[in-house]
Structures are given as C-alpha cells and as structure tokens.
Amino acid sequence: MQTTEKTIADEQREWEQLTLLPFTARRPESREAFRTQGGAVLERVYTPAHVADIDFSRDIGFPGQFPYTRGPYPTMYRAQPWTMRQIAGFGTADDTNARFRFLIAQGQTGISTDFDMPTLMGYDSDDVRSEGEVGREGVAIDSVDDMLDLYAGIDLEQISVSMTINPSAWILLAMYLVVAEERGFDRTKLSGTIQNDIIKEYVAQKEWVYPPRPAMRIVRDTITYSAQHLPRYNPVNVSGYHTREAGSTAIQEVAFTLAAGIAYVEEVVKAGIDVDDFAPRLSFFFVSQIDFLEEVAKFRAARRVWARAMKERFGARKPESMRLRFHCQTAGVSCTAREPLNNIARTAIEALAAVCGGAQSLHTNGYDEALSIPSEPAMKIALRTQQIIAEEVGIGGTIDPLAGSYALERLTADIEKGCFDYFAEVDKRGGVVKCLEDNYFQMELADAAYDLHRRKEASERHIVSVTKYRDDSANPVVELHHADEGAADRQLARLRKTKAARDANAVSRALDEIVRVAKTDENLMPATIAAVKARATGGEIVNALRPVFGTYVETPVF
C-alpha cells in the first residue's frame, strides 16, 4: 500500500509538471481557489493518496451497520422511497386541512405542519403582538379545537404528522395527544415528530420564550414523556437547517446540530433514563444546499459522527441509538425572486443530493419560495420533482451510490473532523448551554455569515439571473399565494367561540397546576395535557409560566 501511495503522489507531481503547468501557462484557470458553498477549499483533483487515511471497514462499511456512513438501514430505498413530506400551513386550521388533503391526494406520504409566527412564539391570535401575523406564514393554532380541525379526516395511526414548532412545542404535543384521545386513536400507534429543538433557536432561528436552562428542561420533559408513553413518536428533531440558512458553513451545520443532540442526550441521561430507552427516537433535520458534492458528503459525515458520538460518549448499545435518521429540505436561501421558475432546477439538484445522501424524508421548496408561502401549483411541481427522482431516475437501486469517490470520501472525512474539533471546543468552554449563554455559537455563525455574504458580493459564485445572465427585460410573473385577509378575523372568531364555551374556572385551576409543577422537577406534560383538554390556549399556558421561567432577551452579535 505504502509504495503505491507514494507512487500516486509522485505521479501527481509529475502530472503537474509535465501536463498541468504547460497547459495553465497557455490558459490559466478561471480563479485561484475553488471553494464549496460551505467554505471548504477544493483540490484540483483527488486521488487515492487523498483518502489513504480512510479505512473501508472502519469508516465506510455497509449500510445499516456502524458507523452508518452509508445509511441507517440495510435496504434503504430498495425497500421503500423516502417519505415525501411537503410542509404546509396558512390561514385557519380549515384552510390548511384542505391543503393537506390536496397533497395526500397527489401522493404525498407524510404531513408536515407550518405554524404562524404567533403560534410559534407562544402568543394567542388575540394578543396585540400577533396583529398582522395571524395565519400569515403558517396556520394559526390557539387551542385544541383548532388542532381537531387541522387534522380532521386524517388517520393519525396511519400517516405520520410532523409539526415545526419549538419553544411552545410541548403545548402543541399536548394538543395533538388530546386530539388523538378525543378521536379514539391509540397513543402507542401515533407516529410523528415535533421539531422541539430549542438550542438552534438561540443560535439561528430566534424563536424563543424562556431562557436556555428552563427551555432545556421542557425539552427533557417531552423526551422522557415520549419514552414512556409514545413509542413511535419523535419528540425532538434536531435541526441544522436554520443554522445553515442563517449563513453557517457545512461543518457548522452538522457540528452545532449534533452538539445540540449530545446536549439533549446528556440532559435526559442526567434525569436517570437509559440512553438506549430514548435515543432511538431522536431524529434530525438538515438542509440540502446547492453544492451537490459537499452536501452528499455532509449527510454521510453526519451519520458517522453521530454513531461515533453515541457509542463513545454515552456507551449506547442499541444500533437504533446510533443510527442517525434525518429529514431534509431544499435550501430556501438558494431560491431567487428573479426568474422564479429557475428555482425548480435548483430544487431538483438539491433534492437529488438529499437522496444520494440517504435522507429519510424530504421537503422540496416551491419555485415561489423567495416570494411568498407556496402556491398550490408550486407545491405540486415540488412534489412532482421528488416523484421524478423516485420513479424515473433509478438512483435508489443501489445504496450510497457515490461512495468511493475520492473527492466525496475526502470531503466526508473533513466534515467529520471539523465536527469533532467543534465538540472539543464546546467541551472546553463548558458545554452547549454555556456556549449559548456566552454567545459562542452565535459569534461563530455571525462570522461565517458575514464571510459568506462577502464571498457572495464578490461573486465568488454567480447566481444565475441575478449576478450573471441577468435579463431585466423579462421577469416572468408567476401566480403567488395570496394572503387571505379574512383569515385573521375568522381565527379570532374561532378563539372567542372556544373561550365562550369552556369552563373558565377549570382553565384557571389547570393553569395553576402547571405553574405548581413548573416550580418542581416533575414532568410538565401531564399538567399541560390536562390544561389543553380544559381548552386553555397556548398563549395562556406560555404566559402563566413566564414568571416562573423568565423571558429570554438576546445579546445580539454581529
């Protein structure tokens, strides 16, 4: 082996002298360095010498086997394609329910729910801070009555339901469980996900209510409750999507996300639960950006890093605890407002990267992503894009098809190393929550975002129709989703109706009980479920706990 490698390195030097240099002397390369979207510098060409430190059995191996580089399952898409899960949410519960039914009729196999900003931030629709935002960027959910209508007519034992919700996730989970109960479904058969990843909120997405420490306790309570009562439910979907969209590097996306995963595991293990009793239900969420090769490497690296971290840090024994499963969404920031139909091509490439990287479920963005929430035609083409990849391309016939590419394996190993370097730094700084409080992740992200922005402005990479091939004479008009101006009023009427019909004394007793529990170390879930059942609203529950938990104020970093 040793002599072969030397020979290859020698051969490369020879090639550079004899072939490359005379060629570039006549015709120089177009730029000095080629960087990936995520910021890594690419070699001109990769050879076996670049992957000499990578051992097939130790680092690559087989799908469904440690370290899971090639995929969490031994059959992957040969068994069934990924779950096609287009997110939807706007207006009132009825409006969104109609969109869900449309998507299911088009062949979608999972549901994903987008909530409006007030719901995400824990404000009711009648709160003064909600004005102008009710039902605008997602569906408005104030009480369990809304949740009942949101999933009306959908068999919750059959279809998995994902909810993109964070600081108020535990309340929405409680509502979901009450809906299941009132409709007679078996809790143990419910499959689905709440995002519930509060750590990345402080880093990137900025949806928060309480400071990090009480917020971590809430996440812990949802995980332990799920471990005991909801065997098929994913109580947290640790997310890198928002960090990357906010301008991080690919390494930061994976490193911060898996560091958050480690922090949740630590928190729950500290509460006395065996790692193998809940780790199998942790799931992840990454973006698929436009840089095809780097993205495929990123997904493979994420699986390998997680498997090693779970085994080495926590002594996980079950394979399910070590294999990382992830949802993927194509990159919103890669979409342009100019010539929006071009976004279909971008999204297709990103979706293909997600599939080559072994995603378990996928959302493809609508071509109108940069303009508004998606219209029905935009969503249909986005879903069709996935269906074309699944049915026509044939990429699922062999597992991890790009493995063994020198470039891909090198990038995979580099991302892995970058992650472990970050883990060491985080440990040195006193752990993830401490790093959040000290703005460590936030500062790392701010620097990367500014660097990315400057590279973008320097046109290191062109954006077609924006910085290159710009055609100001023709910007085709597309039909956009129109915000329904009546939706907010309809939602306010729904909320009034719920409040009028409920037993106000029962609500106030239930809220008192939540406050009592919050002051102890008991699990918040049972008291929250009781309050939701009594028709307490999300905003009422959130506000009741503000005096106990405090309110978070960010120290902005630039």
Binding site: P211, D438, G550, V553, E554, T555, P556, F558
Partner: protein, 307 residues
Amino acid sequence: MIARRAHRDLARAITSVENGIADYQVTAARLAAQGHRREGAGHAAIIGVTGPPGAGKSTLVDRLIEGFRANGETVAVIAVDPSSPFTHGAVLGDRVRMQRHAGDAGVFIRSMASRSAGGGLAPATRDAVRLADAAGFDVVVVETVGVGQVELEIVAVADVIVVVTVPALGDSVQTIKAGLTEIADIFVVNMADRPGANATAVDLKHMVREGKREIPVLQTIARDGTGVSELFAALGARRGAEDSNAVRAVRFELVRRARDEAVRHALAALDSPDAAAILERLRAHELTRNDAIDLLLPMLGGPVHAH
C-alpha cells in the same frame, strides 16, 4: 413627569453637542426655551457603570432603571459603545437589553459612539449627561464602553461609580487592580450563580482592604434580579455622601495632568542629542531594544522601573 415631547428635544440637543453644531450653553438654553427645564434641575444623581465586556453591564442598567422607576424617579441612560478606529463606524447595541422600558416616558435611553475618544466615554458624553439633567431626569446612568481597559474618564462625569465584573473572567481582578480601586464606589460581581463568584468577591474584598476607602463588594445576578436590592441600598448610601466624589475628582484631575506633563517631558527628553545618539545605535543594530530602553529611561526624569 417628563413629557414625550422632551424626549425629542433632548435627543436633538444631544445630537447638536455630539456633532459640534452648538455648544452645551446654547443647547441647554434652547431646551429651556422649549420649556423642558424643570424646577430644581441640575440636581440629577449621576451614576457611572463600568467594567469589562461581557460583564452584563447593560442588563444591570436595565435592573437599575426598573428600580428607580419603581421608586418614582425618572431615568436617562447614556450608553457608550466603541467606534471602529479604522472606519469610524459603530454598532450600538446596548439598548437591546433595555427595550422593555420603551413605553415608559420616564425613561430615556441614548446610545453614543465613542468616536475618537479613549477612556470609555464619547467626547460629548459629559454634555449629554448635563443636558439630560437639565431636561429634568432624576437619575442619569452612564454606561461606559467596557473594552477591557480601565476607563477612568467616568470619574469626571459621575457622582457614584459602579464597577461590574464577573467570575471566571480570568484576569478581571488583575484588570481591576490596575486602577479601578481608585475610582470604584461599589464593586459588583455579576452572574454570581457562576462558579468562582465567591472567590472573585473575596479577592476584591482583600484588595479593597489594602486601599484607603471603604468600597462595598456585592454579588448580583442581573438576569433574574438577585442582589439588585442590595445594590440599591449601597447606591442610596453613596448618593447621600456625594462630597467624597469632589475629592476623588480632584485627585483624578491631578493624576491626569501629571500624566500629561510626564508625557510632554519624556517626548522632550527623547529629542535631546544624547537620546538621539542612543537611538542611532539601535538603528545600526549595535543595541538591542531592551538595551536602548535601559539607557534611555534615566534620561526621562520620571520613575525608573526594572522590566
């Protein structure tokens, strides 16, 4: 009570002095003409808050606002952030932590870029404080830049100076030793729920004991308000004894003039033929830098330290 209108007029008055458009006398007279000079103006309590970056100064100031308002006093805050020495631009972010008072007409918050000034304040900070006082605010809080150096200029502006630090800021106690005992009226160890808080407080108390003045050392958690009532008690005690500040201000002014004099003297000495000869030997690589310093030091006339 402060009229909403006064906020606009005070804000514009501060801009005038900040941009050198009008001096303090003119702007103060204009404020008075606009009807914002209350009876008994010119008697605001002026509180300086200084300390290293990341010590939680703004959060503590937010707690001070809350406390003064609960006591019925109106509060103006002047928060200074650093200007870039290269572009002269600045990002002023201190008010983020005080935004919950935005609806309260009894609270006025103004950010100032330090512009070219050193010492933790902006050139116009002193005038801004006087204008806020003239406009009728009961308390004016000045938050210094906090770039980690000792910021002595605050002495010339504030009646009471709170020096904030946190545990585990490594060399923060060392930093404080470098001169803050001279200016502090109250030491606050903020983020006292972090490891090392007690040790930091003990270190500070030892240091205070070596000095001449009695300086309380308090522990707070500004984030949740722990220890803030003790800080108010200490502030109350200090506000009753403002004359001590006059002595301190004079001491500070004398130190500053002595320093300026020493600098002038040193610069003159370096122009002498003897000094020039030594520097020439340094240029010719006949001397090391340390040798040159050893030879030059005695010529400066000031105190000589071995290094």
